[in-house]
């Protein structure tokens, strides 16, 4: 790869970024909902507040003048008030130049509006551009293939979610369990290819995941869901226990997929370089790979599930709740999910090692 070509690639990427930024900050015409741009801001004096737990805060009222920049009312200006707090848990301060979605209504012949939400598409698209750009620069087409597998899985995921909503199954857990099997197969075929290695990985993932879910559900039932508050599940619109289990199965899958492909690809490589290796040695080497990745992988999931609970946990603590109560209601489900996933990661290590050693012993890997 010549330096000159890399330089040209970087310049093209940067230019495309600029074009994308310009486009997404001027894409109001694509939306049906009215969008306003803040053209004037006047802040009132902040008001000090204090609640029953001696939390001091500040709220400020601002008068905003907005110009509508799309739709049939393009060019009209409207005035509205917005209140924001210093902490900003559920509100935000607006500045000149920002764009917001509006809900317009007529009040005695006069046009008024409330802000429905802030326009964030520019930033989301710019981050996406950054990821694609970095992937291309560092890994070229191989990196983009990884992204493709994620994109395809995302589309399938959305189709399954839509199916769940449309058909409203009573046992919708099975719907997501099937989707998990599909995700596994597709990711493996896209990343590894259509071969024996994929087959062995697929089997070990399915066995590992099933065992982990069976153990997880078994323990939850044996202990009578003691201390588990399914009703604390965010955004639950369906039976929360099943929703939790469906979420766990999908979350667990990624990590199990990661662990098992690491083991299986190492063992296949080993067999290729040392065709006479014994089944026992293969099993041992598989365990060795597994031991090294087990801890870090469980930590990845712990971080993902735990970090999500930060905001709500702080809210619980600041309003006088105890550690135990906060743990049970704000963090319990995330921790349970991470634990079941950990069990899955641990179980897939012997499963993948055993299946590989059976499959590869006496046979040639190709």
């Amino acid at each position: 790869m010549s330096k000159k070509r890399t330089l040209i690639e970087v310049i093209v990427l940067l230019l495309s970024g600029l074009v994308l930024y310009f486009f997404t900050s001027h894409d109001a015409f694509l939306y049906k909902q009215d969008i306003g741009q803040v053209i004037k801001v006047a802040n009132a004096k902040p008001v000090q507040t204090e609640d029953a737990y001696e939390n001091k805060d500040e709220t400020t009222e601002q008068s905003l003048t907005l110009k509508i920049i799309n739709g049939s009312r393009k060019g009209q200006t409207i005035h509205l008030k917005n209140q924001f707090s210093k902490s900003g848990a559920y509100d935000q301060e607006y500045f000149k130049g920002q764009q917001v979605f509006l809900k317009l209504h007529h009040d005695g012949g006069k046009l008024t509006a409330v802000i429905s939400h802030y326009k964030r598409d520019t930033y989301l698209i710019m981050m996406l551009w950054l990821v694609v750009g970095l992937l291309y620069l560092t890994m070229h087409t191989k990196g983009l293939r990884a992204l493709l597998s994620v994109a395809i899985n995302f589309v399938i995921f959305l189709i399954f979610v839509q199916m769940d909503v449309d058909f409203d199954f009573t046992n919708f857990f099975w719907l997501f369990a099937i989707s998990a099997v599909l995700f596994t197969g597709l990711s493996l075929i896209l990343v590894i290819g259509w071969n024996k290695q994929t087959l062995v990985s697929f089997l070990s993932i399915i066995i590992g995941t099933t065992m982990a879910m069976a153990i997880g559900i078994g323990i939850l039932n044996l202990t009578g869901n003691n201390g588990i508050h399914y009703e604390a599940l965010d955004y639950a619109t369906q039976q929360p226990e099943q929703l939790f289990l469906s979420a766990t199965v999908i979350g667990l899958l990624g990590a199990v997929l990661d662990a098992s492909t690491d083991i299986v690809s190492t063992l296949f490589e080993l067999k290729r370089t040392q065709p006479k290796i014994s089944a026992k040695q293969l099993f041992k080497s598989g365990q060795g790979v597994g031991h090294a990745i087990m801890g870090p992988l469980i930590n990845v999931l712990l971080m993902i599930f735990f970090a999500e609970t930060f905001a709500i946990a702080v809210l619980y603590f600041r309003t006088g709740n105890t550690y135990g109560y906060t743990f049970a209601w704000a963090m319990g489900l995330g921790v349970a999910q991470a634990l079941i996933s950990g069990i899955g990661i641990t179980l897939v290590i012997p499963t993948a090692s055993f299946l590989c050693s059976r499959f590869l012993s006496g046979r040639r890997a190709d």
Binding site: V131, A307, A336
Partner: protein
């Protein structure tokens, strides 16, 4: 017995059976990280500056994850160095990005959950969102850093005279495999933890135009995208650091040889 305790015990037993000695120390690293995260939330809630607390907690978590359960100093030191650099890069990226995108606090979709609370609690939710974003990337970067540094160390051990260019080539090969799988882990982790949200959005017929601007959807996507950038950075930086050290060692070895022949 509380279900969470039972699950923890089963996980510990399984990790000890199937993970041996390393399994035990891995289990304690997970436990320790949980403890660090819990203390972090408590410290932030009691009014300590969120960013500083998270930076400190982040370094502790990286050290725990990398050094506990991995014994090869040659690869762990480089992995730790690389993750610290990426931690700094992430802070520089996330602080302005979170401010521009305004993805702090709670969203409309969460209103049921928080309506019982008084929200004026005097904690800066923007800084809290930044802390969340930084901490959630740590698991993925430490895993990738360890995987790539131990992989490259293995290659150097097999072939100590490998050229810098070849090492970069290997780094890119191993890196792309790790990246593919880490992306899957991250995305499935996200689909998994946000399944209920996706179902809700589908139920209210939220269109794509709403989603890509909604606080909750954008903030969840941003978390995954930040992690993706962090993983790419950590792979590049780890490979670079390994190559730099290899070059130094090869030069030192060549010098020693020269002196010997003199």
């Amino acid at each position: 017995m509380p279900s969470i305790l039972a699950l923890t015990i089963v996980l510990a037993v399984l990790m000890m059976i199937f993970g041996g000695k390393q399994g035990t120390s891995s289990f304690f690293s997970v436990l320790l990280n949980f403890g660090i995260l819990f203390v972090t939330v408590i410290l932030i809630s009691s009014g300590f500056p969120p960013l500083l607390v998270s930076l400190f907690a982040g370094i502790c978590i990286l050290a725990t994850t990398i050094y506990m359960g991995n014994n090869d100093d040659r690869s762990t030191n480089i992995a730790f160095e690389a993750t610290i650099i990426v931690l700094v890069v992430m802070i520089i990226m996330i602080v302005p990005m979170d401010h521009w995108a305004q993805i702090k606090g709670f969203s409309t979709e969460q209103s049921d959950e928080i309506e019982a609370f008084n929200l004026l609690i005097g904690i800066n939710f923007e800084k809290l969102a930044i802390s969340t974003a930084i901490l959630s990337t740590l698991g993925a970067i430490s895993e990738a850093a360890i995987a790539i540094s131990s992989g490259l160390q293995e290659i150097i051990d097999q072939n100590p005279d490998i050229t810098k260019k070849k090492l970069y080539q290997s780094g890119s090969n191993i890196g792309s495999q790790i990246m593919g799988m880490t992306f899957n882990t991250l995305f499935f982790g996200m689909f998994g933890s946000d399944l209920a949200l996706f179902v809700l959005l589908a139920k209210v017929h939220a269109g794509i135009g709403y989603c890509i601007n909604a606080k909750i959807f954008v903030s969840e996507c941003m978390l995954v995208l930040y992690s993706a950038v962090a993983v790419i950075c950590v792979i590049v930086i780890t490979t670079f650091l390994m190559a730099r050290r290899l070059e130094k060692q090869q030069k030192a070895a060549a010098k020693a040889k020269k002196q010997e022949s003199n």
